[in-house]
Symmetry: C2
Subunit: 132 residues, 2 copies
């Protein structure tokens, strides 16, 4: 029932589908990366009832807007999301298209010297591309 609370507190009505998607996304030891397609399969595996693709899209976007998920900036035919919302970065293995977490402690501090007036920095994301 913890997800019902969490959802209600952030202004999202705690529907059956949203709670079930929370369970798939957040009932895990480790955080993980996924595409909508990955998530669709995970849901099929873990949940008896069907959740429509449109709902999966809606929910993922709603969760991202609330800050429960992060989109990973990467050029791929599919959008990648991350259940790890802490500041961290990624390796991207070009050979097999796999993403690997880079903890913040794995990357030295990043100092942005340039400023754009009227704007503030929302996030700093580093993508390290790997080849053989």
């Amino acid at each position: 029932m913890k997800y019902k609370e969490k959802l209600r507190n952030s202004g999202l009505r705690p529907t059956k589908q949203r709670v079930q998607i929370c369970e798939v996304l957040f009932d895990t030891e480790k955080t993980f990366h996924f595409t909508i397609n990955d998530l669709e399969r995970k849901i099929k595996d873990k949940i008896d009832n069907k959740i429509s693709l449109a709902t999966i899209y809606n929910t993922v976007h709603a969760f991202e807007k609330k800050g429960y998920l992060k989109q990973i900036p990467i050029n791929s035919n599919q959008t990648y999301f991350d259940t790890n919302i802490n500041d961290h970065h990624h390796f991207y293995d070009l050979k097999d298209g796999k993403l690997i977490d880079l903890e913040n402690s794995d990357v030295g501090p990043i100092n942005i010297k340039k400023k754009i007036n009227g704007k503030k920095i929302k996030s700093i994301e580093v993508l390290v591309k790997l080849e053989d």
Copy 2:
């Protein structure tokens, strides 16, 4: 004729279309960012004959593979490319979707401490998201 040489030297047959696309991309004072759609319009403006969309895609991908263009890792419905192939980074203004260059001197050195065995780092790209 400089582009004919350049193309031939990198194993690309210097066709009329490729040379013309070179002129649109590289005959400029400053480097710039673009989507395929942007490039299509630029070509229409500067070139008399038509170049088909498929050729634009083919050429951009060929140039990227040869290292004359870089793809910018960003989540957008369209793929962004950059004629600046030096190591540098980007601001991304979330409000209006605009990209702004961050010169390497604007960003302190980035130290990646983690290693993946058998893999080497091909590139390090930083995306700084801006909000109001």
